[in-house]
Amino acid sequence: MKEKYIRNFSIIAHIDHGKSTLADRLIENTGGLSLREMKEQVLDSLEVERKHGITIKAQTARLEYTYKSEKYYLNMIDTPGHVDFGYEVSKSLKACEGCLLVVDATQGVEAQTIANAYLAIDNDLEIIPVINKIDLPSADIEKTKQEIEDGLGIDASDAIEISAKNNINIDKVLDSIIEKIPPPKGSIDKPLRALVIDSWYDNYRGVIFIIRVFDGQLKQNDKIMMYSTKKTYEAEELGIFTPKVKKVDLLTNGSVGYVVANIKNIQDAMVGDTLTLADNPTNKPFEGFAKPKPFVFAGIYPTDPENYEDLAEALEKLQLNDASLTVEKEKSDSLGFGFRCGFLGVLSMNITKERLEEEFGLDVIITNPSVLYKVEQTNGEIIELSNPSKLPPPQKIAAIYEPFVDIEIITPAEYVGNILKLLQEKRGRQQDLSYISQDRVLIKYSIPLVEIITDFYDKLKSLSRGYASFDYNFRDFEKSRLIKLIILVNSKEIDSFSMIVPKDKAYRTAREVLRNLKRFIPKQLFEIRLQAKIGGKIIAKEQISPLRKDVLAKCYGGDITRKRKLLEKQKRGKKKMKQLGSVEISKEAFIKLVEINN
């Protein structure tokens, strides 16, 4: 296949701007799937993805399109759309020469539009602006073009105006991919040099990885070598996605396809690695991608301690497909044995939880999400921790550093006041504030990561009636005035409720936490004293009076079974209870507490 007939491209967009719908149309219009086979949004393969309306693992499809009587092969490389998955976006873009930047004409440029466009610019891609949803009454095409030019510095004068949903101007998109995006460079005569752009573990086939060939060619049964490990394998099967799986004998320079090579360990086929031939290796490996670093941490525990082993196994399997997921054993007084896991963000955390529940049938509890702290001890040693209960005693701490992120928010101007107030409350520092169009503002702040990992998104949405969007990037660790807030139930410290809080907010947080505990801990046969402590000092108190009435006074003419069933139900409820010191609390209440406490 000649390089000049190949185009490699991605679609990038803010969430819900129509990326997946456009992908569907491109497949449909090039005959990749018959109408009958065409499911809505075919590229989103995982159940969980469909539910969240987002694409998690990048996938590819080779589309065949005839332009001016010549047949072209367009490799579409799907990218995830959410802020948590910036890493996955960048690895997809590495495999392309150009991209379609989709902007919703009713929404305009949003935070992830900017973040993704910058990634594309960084990768020297040809960017084709595409304005979607032009047939909606609230579409404002001119304003959207203006925002693309002002906000991104991209010429939008010949942006393609489409409706992916109603199949308007999809052919123009296809033509422009061929006209504007350069064909792949490289030479088929050079030694094989291919980039691993995705890999996952399949229970039957072992590791499957997707490569983009940058030089040379790969034939079936070739002896391949992973550059970083120098391990060699036989390329048992090569293929492409159309998006249906189609085996091929050959992957030539410029093309994108999958390789199955009987690799059992995903660590041996890491994304970013260079694949080459064992007996004629390239001497120009790719730099590789930095391994994604988890930013958000939380404990995952089985609701029923007997499921610990199952949970361990499930997490191991999830790790095969999620290079960013980190897992470490952990023990909690109240929750027993579990794992401390690291995630790219809160969304990935929730997706992991759902996959554990849906794909593995496990019932799990996730503790307060937290971030990675660096603690400088008085002896000069620096330790890293994410579990607040692991914090050394105050007299041993010289300083605590917490991760800060640069956050970019785009909002209609009328909500700026509300949003600035929220950012101030969340300990943010303003970096910049500028107008990207007459009534839309780009706000840049640096802000502690921990402040945005739980309710920030919901608050931002409600303050702006859903119009504001945001994205963030890790900035640095900064010294903060943080202290450990300890929660005691009947004088016993409850480790899963400990938290690291800003000193200035400690009193307020303590009172709030205790109020919530009081609300959700059911009355017991004895009085419950709740206390919040920093250092050796109690800073807030509550109490829950004992249970007064819980009795079955009637007899129901000897219907003992009914009585027994009632007691059994009560007992079953108790079996699932979590122990907070001497106090028992239902799983549901526990989860609420964990959610609210942060």
């Binding site: 017991q524 046969l525 004895f526 249970l547 007064r548 009435k549 819980d550 009795v551 079955l552 006074a553 009637k554 007899c555 129901y556 003419g557 000897g558 219907d559 003992i560 079974t561 009585k563 027994r564 009632l566 007691l567 059994e568 009560q570 007992k571 108790k574």
Partner: protein, 371 residues
């Protein structure tokens, strides 16, 4: 293992259904009464046992919807089909409005020796909310008629939990004690599924005492009746010495009992079964018995233990261990330790029991860990 049996006869008819009551009973079906009695007698005759009957209990519904001749035919069936102990306790539940002298004389002549009268309250305003057909004067009169007819084992029911103050409760108990009855059952009002009260409660038209107040009333009642000479012998029951209800105690003590009629439950030779709640199915003999899953040994022990704990005297350890071939203190070591520490359960003189009214009022929280 036991040669004794306790009989229950359910009369599922009422002139008017009480808005709080979830027991199985039918209004406006009195025309089926004669047929129902016929079926009851069939059921009694179909049941064969050599065990000696210790009690016969007519419950409802409203048993006093029956004519004397109906009761007579049922009792005849019992006497002709079983051996009945000559000291058997024969209880008849009734509505105060039914207890006219003639009716009472009829009951007496049939050998009925215990009356349970649904007084519920001595406050007319409360009786109205409860939807009762009688007022306090009728209640006084009914008890007096019964005593005049020669009944010397009378129980009255009281309900509380309708926002009574302690003064209100004192008024109720003072009146109850002034009647000089032998037995008093006091029931906490609870909102039952499918009742009118449930609807009114949900819509906010009805309010009831909160848990705190109800618990305080419970403790107040216990103290008051104890100082008036009644023994608090079961969670909801009080009796003068020797007048504890044999029949009701049989349920808690794990004795065999056989219930006849709609919705009646039975426990015979270790097997539990229950009749249908449907009057028509019962009358037409249509799938009317449901056998319950047999409990395994350990669950039987647990159930017996929990039921016994409802009684003041609780579990007699040695007797229990022998009867159920177990070691109850070993089986429940953790639970007993826990609740003894919390002062909910006590062990004394070879008995394990709930530690007084304070423990009884939260007994579900305790018992649910033993089941």
């Amino acid at each position: 293992m036991n040669n004794k049996i306790y009989l229950y006869v359910h009369i599922p008819f009422c002139y008017k259904k009480c808005p709080y009551c979830a027991f199985v009973s039918y209004e406006k079906r009195l025309s089926s009464l004669a047929l129902y009695i016929k079926r009851l007698i069939d059921e009694i005759k179909d049941f064969k046992t050599s065990k000696v009957v210790q009690s016969i209990y007519f419950g409802g519904g409203t048993p006093s919807t029956l004519k004397i001749k109906h009761i007579e035919s049922v009792l005849n069936a019992v006497y002709s089909n079983f051996t009945v102990d000559k000291n058997a306790e024969i209880t008849f539940e009734s509505n105060p409005v039914s207890l006219k002298i003639d009716y009472l004389k009829g009951l007496k002549s049939l050998g009925i020796n215990r009356l349970s009268i649904g007084v519920q309250s001595f406050m007319d305003s409360k009786l109205k909310i409860l939807g009762r057909l009688h007022d306090s004067q009728k209640a006084f009169k009914a008890v007096k008629n019964a005593q005049d007819t020669g009944f010397n084992n009378i129980s009255i029911d009281l309900i509380y939990g309708l926002n009574e103050t302690e003064k209100d409760m004192e008024f109720e108990l003072k009146n109850a004690c002034s009647l000089d009855v032998q037995h008093i059952s006091t029931y906490m009002l609870s909102i039952e599924k499918g009742t009118l009260f449930e609807k009114l409660f949900k819509s906010g038209e009805l309010t009831i005492s909160n848990d705190e107040d109800t618990a305080n009333l419970y403790l107040f009642i216990s103290d008051y009746l104890k100082s008036a000479g009644y023994k608090h012998y079961e969670i909801s029951n009080f009796a003068k010495g020797g007048f504890e209800s044999n029949h009701n105690s049989a349920y808690w003590l794990g004795y065999d009992y056989r219930g006849f009629g709609v919705s009646a439950s039975s426990f015979v030779d270790g097997i539990r079964f229950k009749n249908t709640d449907s009057l028509d199915n019962y009358i037409n003999k249509k799938n009317y018995v449901v056998y319950e899953k047999q409990l395994d040994e350990i669950d039987k022990i647990k159930e017996a233990f929990v039921l016994l704990l409802r009684m003041k005297d609780g579990v007699e350890i040695e007797h229990f261990n022998k009867r159920y071939n177990t070691n109850i203190k070993k089986l429940y070591k953790n639970e007993l330790d826990k609740f003894e520490k919390l002062d909910m359960i006590k062990e004394k003189n070879g008995h394990i029991f709930l530690n007084g009214a304070e423990a009884m009022v939260v007994s579900n929280a305790v018992l649910s860990e033993f089941i």
